[in-house]
């Protein structure tokens, strides 16, 4: 358990709904859910979730903190926005799912090895390094996330696509050596650090 998690536990004790409202992006909408079930029934990945959005909202209100934050359900959201479009109460369900996932991640409770989470982490690290996404490095990092042997296998399987992209000048092999980036990298790093500091202070994560 992280320090941030212990602090949140201390601050909100048994009131998980309050915690979600304060710390999760769009979390103040959770209390508006009227449990009609349209989001659950409309989700194209519905049958593959352990807990549907409808159920997660009820679990939050029932104070099932560990079950919600350690669940991989909200990581299954593909942002298709079907639920947002149909929700009779106009809850921004997709955004709440992402907010919950992010909060669980920041508290260190999100499930280890969950593919969406791993890819999101790789993407973020890749992006903030230079201020630009290095697609070659990002793809390779994805291939090799499950070990060296699996990485070689993945790379071999995708080599046709890769060569095609190189030929069409959509992929520059030289990107492997440093690659392009913003002019003021140090400035970007400072900006991201400051934003993180402000967010952490507001949500009691630091």
């Amino acid at each position: 358990m992280s320090d941030a998690n212990n602090r949140a536990l201390g601050a909100y004790r048994s009131n998980f709904l309050k915690e979600v409202e304060a710390n999760v992006e769009e979390g103040h909408w959770v209390k508006m859910c009227m449990q009609c079930g349209v989001c659950a029934g409309s989700c194209p990945l519905g049958p593959h979730w352990q807990h549907s959005p409808q159920k997660i909202f009820m679990m939050i209100r029932a104070g099932k903190r560990d079950e919600v934050l350690t669940s991989d359900s909200m990581w299954m959201c593909t942002s298709c926005y079907n639920c947002i479009v149909r929700c009779p109460r106009k809850l921004p369900i997709t955004h709440i799912m992402h907010g919950l996932a992010n909060y669980a991640h920041r508290l260190g409770l999100a499930p280890k090895g969950q593919p969406t989470r791993e890819i999101a982490k790789l993407f973020w690290d890749n992006l903030v390094k230079t201020g630009r996404v290095n697609e070659l490095k990002f793809s390779l990092a994805m291939y090799f996330k499950d070990g060296f042997g699996q990485g070689i296998k993945n790379a071999m399987a995708m080599q046709g696509v890769g060569l095609g992209l190189v030929k069409a000048k959509r992929l520059n092999p030289l990107e492997l050596l440093g690659g392009h980036g913003c002019k003021d990298k140090a400035g970007i790093h400072k900006m991201v650090a400051k934003a993180r500091e402000i967010e952490d202070r507001r949500k009691g994560l630091a």
């Binding site: 009227m34 009609c36 079930g37 989001c39 659950a40 029934g41 409309s42 159920k55 149909r86 106009k90």
Partner: protein
């Protein structure tokens, strides 16, 4: 500030449904002069299109008959059918109203013998049955129509069909030369009893009302159940005319939904509970009704009726708003997809027929009302800034018949107060 002086003692009631009839009668029976303007060719409104009332399961014809008798016997009410309000100017106590009277092509001489209907072959969609069937283009709107006079559909007037109707009439009541008239009147107060209309179910895209024949609305189901309806009271499904036995009712179809109607339409829960009893009446123990709901809103004494329906073994309840409807192409059965709230079970359930309990929206949605009228966020009429116009019945709020009548009586009293107060000021 002195109260405005009513230069006109007349009350205008707009809309001749159960609310408008009530408001007009209450004022007329207090001795006030009333003009009752109705857009369609007959009084009765949507109440006349119901098969039975909840919770007593009696027939609306009964109450309508009493009201019609009161109207016929009261010289203070002047009924103007096929009449619409075009413009209202002036203020409390002294409104100038422009009315547009559409041609009926049949005069007061009509005896409703029906010869014109027999003579004519052209047919038009039957508005009384929500377009589920067709009627002859010379028709009586429904059995209890008032005025009890035939109407010619404008589409046949300038054709040989119109001449046929004229030739068939034994009393010379068909007048093909009638044209639209404009009438100016002065009134002291106006009661807007413009009523409601069912929400356009096709707008609820996931339910496929416009794509699937066997997805119908609750108002259409009323007509199916009525022995005077298009199927003679048999619950026949539109796709193949087979008897529907396994029927689903979807609540809040349009209501309580920020994407459609943000208000609760109040009547739909009771209407569906009532309609399960139509299924029982038609199919006995063979019938099966399933109500898909968010929560059942059966208020006050209606709770008894809800409990009675709950005890009926042919009726089951699924706590879930259906997410979408798909089609079983082999048999045209709608398949309902969703997740229930009592255990979060995913279901895909097939039914013979799906009835959408559609919400009520004000009939005047999309119509330009006088600037002075105050409406709420769902466009129901609250009143007017100058206090001389009032909403009544379902025009003022989604109400069942019983509450609409109460609301109409209240509105009538307020209209009388306007006339009375201003009249007494004048006298002083």
């Amino acid at each position: 500030m002195t109260a405005s002086i009513a230069t006109s003692q007349t009350i205008l009631v707009v809309g001749g449904g159960i609310s408008g009839m009530t408001a007009a009668l209450e004022a007329a029976e207090c001795g006030k002069q009333v003009i009752l303007a109705e857009k369609t060719p007959t009084l009765g409104g949507r109440t006349a299109q119901l098969y039975r009332y909840f919770p007593k399961m009696c027939h609306p014809t009964c109450g309508l008959e009493i009201n019609l008798k009161r109207i016929k016997g009261n010289p203070n009410v002047r009924v103007m059918a096929m009449t619409q309000v075009v413009e209202v100017t002036g203020s409390r106590g002294n409104y100038a109203v422009t009315l547009k009277v559409s041609p009926r092509y049949v005069t007061e001489n009509c005896t409703a013998c029906g010869k014109c209907g027999e003579a004519v072959t052209a047919e038009v969609p039957d508005a009384f049955n929500y377009g589920l069937g067709k009627v002859k283009a010379a028709y009586l709107p429904h059995a209890m129509a008032y005025p009890q006079r035939y109407v010619l559909d404008p589409s046949i007037v300038a054709t040989p069909e119109g001449e046929k109707a004229k030739a068939a009439c034994p009393v010379g009541a068909v007048d093909l030369g009638m044209s639209e008239e404009t009438v100016e009147i002065n009134v002291g107060a106006i009661v807007w009893a413009t009523g409601w209309r069912p929400y356009d179910a096709a707008k609820i895209q996931p339910y496929g009302y416009d794509r699937f024949a066997n997805v119908i609305t609750s108002v259409e189901f009323e007509r199916l159940a009525d022995p005077h309806g298009p199927t003679g009271g048999k619950l026949l499904r539109p796709s193949d005319g087979k008897e529907a036995k396994n029927i689903a009712f979807i609540q809040c179809a349009g209501s309580r939904d920020e994407n459609h109607l943000r208000h609760c339409s109040r009547i739909c829960c009771m209407a569906s509970l009532k309609q399960t009893q139509y299924v029982r009446e038609a199919c006995g123990d063979e019938g099966k009704s399933t109500i898909y709901y968010i929560d059942i809103r059966a208020i006050d004494r209606f709770e008894d009726f809800y409990q009675k329906v709950q005890a009926d073994p042919t009726v089951s309840f699924v706590k879930s708003k259906v997410a979408r409807i798909a089609l079983n192409e082999a048999n045209d059965n709608p398949i309902l997809h969703g997740v229930d709230t009592e255990g979060y079970h995913r279901y895909a359930t097939e039914h013979d027929l799906v009835v959408l309990a559609v919400g009520m929206e004000p009939e005047v949605t999309g119509v330009r009302l006088p600037d002075d009228i105050i409406v709420d966020s769902s466009l129901f009429i609250e009143g007017s800034k100058d206090g001389g116009m009032f909403g009544a019945g379902a025009a003022s709020s989604p109400l069942d018949v019983n509450r609409a009548v109460q609301s109409a009586t209240a509105a009538s009293l307020r209209a009388i107060q306007v006339i009375h107060k201003t009249a007494s000021t004048e006298a002083a």
